[in-house]
């Protein structure tokens, strides 16, 4: 089957029911998308299908055929997406393992709601972070939404 991932066509020979997560990680060697729970609970595996956040551990690869798949590797060149810049400026990640998924969820949120309220963030950002970076995620999303990024220096 053929998949369109980050604007590139990739050809795979895998079972149709294989979750997109494992096709990305093991077959295509795209390791930015993470395995956390396998039951769509934690969101570490979040990717976009046509811009919508999807938990790829529970999304069959065959359902992605003919769709635009975007992974953490495809949201910007040189980590330049305002969400990525804000994540660094506000020193959001701790262990970082959930952050690909958090960033994918945040990018999708901003696309839908360019100026999200705290309530919007609460309902859109349901991914688990065991390190407890939630407060910084919230601050960084607001900063990116307000265009308040790329000004702070280390």
């Amino acid at each position: 089957m053929k998949l369109n991932i980050n604007g590139r066509v990739r050809e795979l020979d895998v079972e149709p029911e294989m979750p997109l997560l494992w096709a990305l990680r093991d077959v295509l060697d795209m390791k930015g998308t993470k395995f956390g729970c396998g039951i769509a609970q934690c969101g570490a595996c979040t990717v976009h299908i046509n811009g919508e956040p999807v938990r790829s551990c529970s999304f069959p690869v065959s359902a992605a055929v003919g769709q635009q798949v975007t992974t953490i590797e495809g949201i910007s060149r040189n980590s330049s997406h305002p969400i990525q810049v804000a994540w660094v400026e506000h020193q959001v990640p701790q262990c970082g393992y959930c952050q690909s998924g958090q960033i994918m969820a945040a990018v999708a949120l901003l696309r839908k709601k360019p100026k999200p309220t705290d309530a919007d963030i609460d309902s859109a950002m349901t991914n688990i972070c065991r390190c407890g970076t939630y407060a910084r995620i919230r601050t960084a999303i607001h900063a990116a939404a307000n265009g308040n990024v790329g000004v702070k220096k280390a």
Binding site: D26, K31, C42, Q94
Partner: protein, 722 residues
């Protein structure tokens, strides 16, 4: 470590690299990556912690692990500070575990447990930085023929004012690396710090925002195969038989096997194929008597522990408690229970092992590179010197990754495959939840007698808990007492003239181990609530009562005052809002918390405010400490509300995040962090924030509802989180 041992270590390092055939000259080699880039950059190891490239970049070695606690940035800040390096030109690399073994543990302890990286290695790391600086200065002094004492260093630039000469670290590194280390170095006063003490951005963060960060589970090697594992669901159980007939001929399946007699493994050309096939391999287990154990039977066993006569007494016994209780105006008693908890780091356990002739390479997310290396060597029966363990960023640790259990499995699987086949073993979340080394379960019995003034004249503690030192680390108990289980009572800070604290080990078949803030995550739940009960019994303000009890304890009193001041203790709160306070002394630091909550009629707790204060002596990276206290609050709140591992038929009942609940964004309270360093000592920061939070929350619950929380989690006591 003394500086003389640097010299020795460095000598061994030179011998080793020369022996390996990699050295071009004494201590020099051309790292291929740089050589390819520029063709000319030379790297000089000034000592084992500091290397300088001829392009002036400085490579600082980091000996522990990075799992989000930030030490991979803050520890090198201390070295760079003493070196007077240009922080913008500093690169940080893990110290090589194999060299470490060959050099007789030259980098010291590699473990990231117990919030100890800074506090137990600051001395030798800072001396390494200062020593390297002195060698670079000596090289310049030799070349310029001026006294070293007249040379100054700033931002990686070496200067001599008198002759107006200046040079760089890169130009002096080659000569410096050939000099001996100085016998003595003088370390800076913290008030002169320019790199340490500042919120330097964490070096590992950019990679965590663009998918390039590589964790243990991201290891990928040519020809690698994948393994999924199903270990006995009952701890201690054995594989009687398994049936692979349904999966043997499936696409991608390479091998089905049993390892260590207690686990069944499917190896495939893809992880998903392996884990799906494993579901269709029925296993018959021999679980023995452990199959009859339940949470209820364990609780009974712990309750017996509270009643047993003549159990070990902690050395801080004072006076005569029986007499004190006999003469007391009032005697209070209370029991508290804390459950087993799992770690649930976001990255499940996993490891990759590649066995080749005379050499084994292994990769895993770990908190202890040495333990992993030894685990591989033991599993395969090969010398440690032949094992190359590669550290990666760890996707959370919280104590789970301190032992070698999972890497042993990967090594045994690799051994069962055709020679030279690299294999990556990965656990499912369910395997992870059910095969942990759990935060110990504990019971506490407390008793105190107060006199007419309301102050305690006698305090008795009985702790019944597992011993992780004995059960996890295999160490004999000293005088029958476990360290982590007695944290908070062993160095009891409150002034009580008669006191006696006892510990009785309760060993069950449930594996226990380190956990973020292990003992300190539970002992304050009992101690700090009981202090509140004493204050309530005498009608005194709980903060003022603590102040009286801590009047001769400078730092515990200091942090208590700091948190109370920041929280505005004593000032009126909005109607329906109540506050609780607690103070603790964990991991060489002092922490205190105030939590403000309201509770509705249905038991829904709304957290209005959290104030966390820490005195860790010296602040190396302020923003990172704030992050650690924010994270510790989330970790503690998760445990307080929902954390519970229960046992039925000998096995863990919880499986995944749907049955082991995690805090989410909408539930995260705002945390105000107060940094109140008093200097003169070095305390930990990764764990101490957890210690005071749960009792402060429970004391607020009592203030709000009149209900004293005797047992966790709160979900079992009729509470939810609003």
């Amino acid at each position: 470590m003394k500086n003389t041992s640097f010299k020795k270590a460095r000598r061994e390092f030179l011998v080793t690299t020369a022996g390996a055939g990699g050295g071009l000259a004494l201590g020099f080699h051309l790292p291929s990556a740089f050589a390819q880039k520029t063709g000319t950059v030379e790297k000089a190891d000034v000592n084992i912690w500091v290397a300088v490239n001829s392009d002036d970049t400085v490579v600082i070695k980091y000996a522990r692990s990075e799992m989000g606690q930030g030490s991979m940035t803050s520890a090198p800040q201390l070295i760079a500070e003493e070196l007077d390096a240009d922080w913008k030109k500093v690169q940080i690399e893990y110290a090589d575990t194999n060299q470490h073994v060959r050099m007789k543990r030259a980098w010291g302890n590699m473990a990231s447990v117990g919030s100890q990286t800074i506090r137990t290695s600051q001395d030798y790391m800072r001396k390494a930085g200062a020593s390297a600086r002195a060698m670079l200065v000596a090289a310049a002094a030799n070349e310029w023929k001026v006294p070293a004492a007249e040379i100054t260093v700033s931002n990686g630039i070496i200067m001599h004012a008198g002759s107006k000469k200046r040079t760089t670290f890169g130009k002096m590194a080659s000569a410096a690396s050939k000099l001996g280390a100085p016998k003595e170095v003088v370390l800076k006063d913290s008030k002169d710090w320019k790199i340490a003490g500042k919120s330097m951005r964490r070096i590992d963060i950019p990679a965590s925002t663009n998918g390039t960060q590589r964790y243990g589970v991201d290891t990928q090697l040519p020809g690698m195969v994948y393994a999924a594992i199903n270990a006995s669901p009952v701890f201690g159980g054995k594989v009687k038989s398994f049936d692979d007939s349904r999966v043997k001929s499936r696409r991608g399946i390479i091998k089905v096997l049993s390892i260590d007699g207690n686990a069944v493994v499917v190896v495939a050309d893809n992880y998903w194929r392996a884990k799906e096939a494993l579901k269709d391999v029925p296993v018959e287990w021999d679980v023995g008597a452990n199959g009859n154990v339940s949470s209820a039977s364990i609780l009974e066993f712990f309750k017996e522990g509270l009643k047993m006569p003549d159990v070990p007494v902690l050395p801080n016994k004072k006076g005569d408690i029986d007499q004190a209780f006999a003469g007391a105006t009032k005697v209070l008693e209370a029991e508290f229970v804390t459950p087993y908890l799992c770690h649930a780091p976001m990255e499940p356990m996993g490891a990759t092992v590649h066995i080749q002739e005379g050499r084994v390479d292994a990769w895993a997310s770990t908190q202890n590179g040495e333990a992993q290396l030894a685990g591989v060597a033991n599993a395969l029966g090969v010398p440690p010197e032949s094992v190359y363990f590669h550290k990666t960023q760890a996707g959370g640790g919280f104590g789970r990754r301190s032992g070698p259990d999972f890497i042993r499995q990967a090594a045994l699987i690799a051994k069962a495959l055709p020679a030279g086949t690299p294999v990556k073993m990965l656990w499912t979340r369910e395997e992870d939840t059910q095969h942990d080394f759990y935060r110990p379960h504990a019971m506490y019995k407390l008793k105190a007698g107060i006199d007419a003034s309301g102050m305690p004249v006698g305090w008795y503690t009985r702790i019944a808990s597992g011993s992780l030192f004995n059960q996890f680390a295999g160490l004999p108990l000293k005088d029958g007492i476990d360290g982590p289980a007695t944290e908070g009572f062993a160095e009891f800070p409150y002034e009580v003239p008669n006191q006696k604290h006892e510990y009785v080990q309760r060993r069950t078949h449930v594996p226990i181990g380190f956990w973020r803030t292990v003992g300190w995550s539970q002992t304050p739940f009992a101690r700090e609530q009981f202090v509140d009960e004493l204050a309530q019994a005498t009608g005194k303000d709980t903060y003022e009562y603590r102040r009286e009890l801590l009047k001769n304890e400078k730092r515990p009193l200091g942090i208590l005052n700091a948190v109370a001041k920041a929280a505005g203790w004593g000032k009126p709160l909005p109607a329906g809002v109540f506050r609780g306070i607690a103070t603790t002394e964990p991991y060489g630091s002092f922490t205190a918390a105030v939590v403000e909550i309201s509770v509705d009629n249905a038991g829904a707790i709304k957290i209005h405010r959290v104030v966390q204060a820490i005195d860790c002596g010296y602040v190396v990276n302020p923003d990172n400490i704030v992050a650690q206290l924010q994270g510790s609050t989330a970790f503690a709140l998760t445990a307080a509300m929902w954390g519970e591992i229960t046992i039925k038929d000998g096995r863990v009942e919880q499986t995944n995040f749907d049955t082991y609940r995690m805090l989410r964004m909408r539930e995260m309270p705002k945390v105000e962090v107060v940094l109140a360093p008093t200097g003169g000592f070095w305390g930990g920061v990764g764990e101490p924030g957890q210690a005071p939070f749960i009792p402060a929350l429970c004391n607020a619950i009592f203030a709000a509802t009149g209900k004293r929380v005797r047992s966790l989690p709160l979900k079992n006591q009729g509470f939810t989180l609003a």
